[in-house]
Structure formats: C-alpha cells, structure tokens
Amino acid sequence: MTCLEFERDLPECVEGKPSPEQQAHLNSCPTCSGLLLDLNSIASQAKMLSAAEEPSAAVWNALEERLRSEGLIRSQPVYLPAEVKPSFMQRWRAAWLVPVAAALVAVAVVKLYHPANIGDNSPVAKQAQPAAPAAVVKNASAKRKPALSHEDQQWLDTVAARPPAQLAKFRTDLDQANAFIEDAQQSLQQDPNDVYMQQMLMNAYEQKQMLYELVVDDSSH
C-alpha cells in the first residue's frame, strides 16, 4: 500500500479500526502514522470546545422579559397535582360518566335480557336504567348544542330508527360530548401549553368514540 492509497482510505481509518493492510502500512510509514495520530487527536480534543463559552447576563434578562410578556412566566404559578383541576374535573366527571355509564348499563341489560328489543318498555330494561342525571349535569353543557359534524349526523342516522326516548338520549350525550370538546379546544386556544386541557380534550374524544362504538356494537347484534 502506498501513502496515496492509504490517504484515500484515511477517513474510515480515523473513525474506525485500520484494516490489516492499513496497519501494515502504518507500521512501516512514520509520516502516515503521524498523520493518523494527529487527526485522531484533533477529533478527540474537539470535545473540549463544547460548552466552553458563556453568554452575557443580558441574554437571560431579555429571555425572561419575553417569557413574561408571552405569559409563560406567571407572577403566581399554580402548583396543582396532575390529576386535579377541581372545577373542570367535577363538571366533566359528573357530566360524562353518569350518562355514559347509564348508556352502558342500559345496553348491557337490553342485550342480556331482550337482545331483539332495544330500548323497549320491558320492566327489566326500565329497571336497569339509572335515574336521570342530577341537575348539575343538566346545567353543565346540555343547554349548549354545538354544530354537528358530518360524522355525527351519520351516526345519528344509524340510530334514527330507535325509539324516540333512546334517540333523545343519544342526542343529548352527543351534544354534551361535542360541548366538552369545544370547551377544551377553546381553552387550548388561549393556552396551548395547558397539559391538563390537552388531556381533557383527549379524554373527550375517547368518550365520544365510546358513544359511537356503543351504537355500532349494538347495531351488530
């Protein structure tokens, strides 16, 4: 191997282990050996340049000012456990879980005792349906009816043949789901970094998906 041939393979040699042929050349050529050692030394010493300098205090001062003006630094930070945001959580839990649980129970009972009679007037089905949601639930978001999407309308079309009471229930649950999604989206528009609202929005979409699945599951039987 000549020095020129060795130099052509030099990049791989610096970043890896020399081949037997390269090593044989290195053993016999102090110039190439010195070159390789120098390049390795430069590569290894380069790391000491990382984090070698420090910015002036003005950088932090300007940065802090920007963070305050954008509301990322708050004068009174709020430290809350991750799972608690009382007003929202209370409203959402009360409004979500009761009607969803009611729907699950009602469907389960109908399937168990009267699979062909969905939402009928049998005593069993009636008995299994929980009492109407509390006033706080009614007041939560039922008054507001967000616009229905194309998918929502398709979903309602699939249940159009159901008894009016059941249809009304589905519609109420759907309106509540959309209202909660709208609430969370509006909150996130004001504060995109709000992790709690991000989680709430995810939960709201999941719950809406559950409603769809309840109907699909029911229709398939």
Binding site: C3, R8, L10, G34, I42, E53, P55, I73, Y79, N193
Partner: protein, 200 residues
C-alpha cells in the same frame, strides 16, 4: 421536592425544574437556562463566529424550547431536545443570511495529489500532545464555513453523519468527506501556528 428542601436552598433537579416551569415558575426557567446555556451558546458561537449573533440565537433557541415545554413528556432527554432545537435555529439563521452551510458534494476522489508529501530529511511535525483549547478554538474559527459546520456538529457536538446529513441537507458521503477535509485543514493550521510560535 418538599418545602423543607426548598427552604434549605437545595437546587431543583432538571426534572423538578421542568415540572415547575410548566406551571410558570420563573426560578425553574432560570435553572433550566443555567444548566444548558454554555453548551447552547458555545454551539451558536462556533457556528456563527459572532458573539452578538450567538447571543441572539441562544435566546431564540431557549425561547422556542420554553414555548413548547408544556408538551415535554420526558421520554427523551431534555438536553437532547434543546440541543437539536439550537442546531436548527442556527442553521435557519445561516440559511436566511445565505451563508454557506456545506459545499456541494465534493469527495476526496478528485484530489489526486494528496496531503502527504514526503520530503527526504524533513522533520516529522506531529501535533500529538500539543493541542490546547485556545489554539484549537482559533483554528476552528479559521475554517471555511462549510468545513466548520460539519466539524462542529460531528467532533464538537457529537452528531452522527446521518443526523448531520438530515440537518444540513447534504449526503452522508458529503458529510464524511467535509469532516475529513476539516480535520486536515485544522492540522495544517495548528502546525503553522506552532511553527510561528516556535520562531518567536
């Protein structure tokens, strides 16, 4: 962190600082800034060679990061996240100013003459053991911009060639060849510098 620890003046850990920063705590932002400012600033300075630009870019990198801190889940290292953002901020700035980041594909195959010139009787001027940080820093500052970018990203900051290729928009082969040329150039600069000092 309990209140007792805070009262004792113990510093926040990075994870604690991140969680408190999400709540808008100014002190927590400062902790994160102090932990990483040197590395971010050094990177910006190495690549721009201008203290004013480096400070502006440092501020911008941290600002972009802190804006997104609410979405940080801790699955990857915070420093990795910050560092990648810093590189992107610097590269964007270089592109805006139409400064060369990496030369067009240019491999060693075209260089037939080679670097090694054997002169009978010439002394072997090796650098081993003779590199100090200031001399190396000065030599890096003298590199052409394209060489400097690749060298800083690979040897100083530790990025792999595939990552560099993706960031700067070149091929992996180009990244490797530019790095090799950068190291050869640095060797030449350091040898000249040492020879000049020896003459004084």
């Amino acid at each position: 962190m309990t209140d007792a620890r805070k009262q004792q003046g113990e510093k926040l850990t990075e994870a604690e600082a991140i969680e408190r920063a999400k709540q808008g705590d100014a002190a927590a932002f400062k902790v994160l800034y102090d932990l990483h400012k040197r590395r971010v600033y050094s990177l910006c300075l190495r690549m721009t060679q201008n203290t004013a630009s480096a400070e502006d870019l440092t501020q911008e990198a941290f600002l972009q990061l802190f804006r997104k801190i609410g979405t940080f889940r801790g699955e990857s290292a915070f420093s990795t996240w910050l560092h990648r953002m810093s590189v992107n901020v610097v590269l964007m700035q270089l592109r805006k100013k139409n400064l060369p980041i990496v030369p067009i594909d240019d491999t060693l195959e075209g260089d037939e003459e080679g670097t090694i010139k054997k002169e009978p009787g010439a002394p072997d001027e090796r650098l081993t053991g003779a590199i100090d940080r200031l001399r190396l820093q000065n030599a890096v500052d003298e590199l052409p911009p394209g060489y400097r970018t690749i060298f800083v990203l690979h040897d100083v900051e530790g990025y792999e060639h595939n990552e560099i290729a993706e960031m700067v928009g070149c091929s992996i082969g180009n990244s490797k060849s530019q790095l090799h040329k950068a190291r050869l150039k640095l060797r030449e600069l350091l040898r000249v510098d040492r020879a000049e000092k020896a003459r004084k």
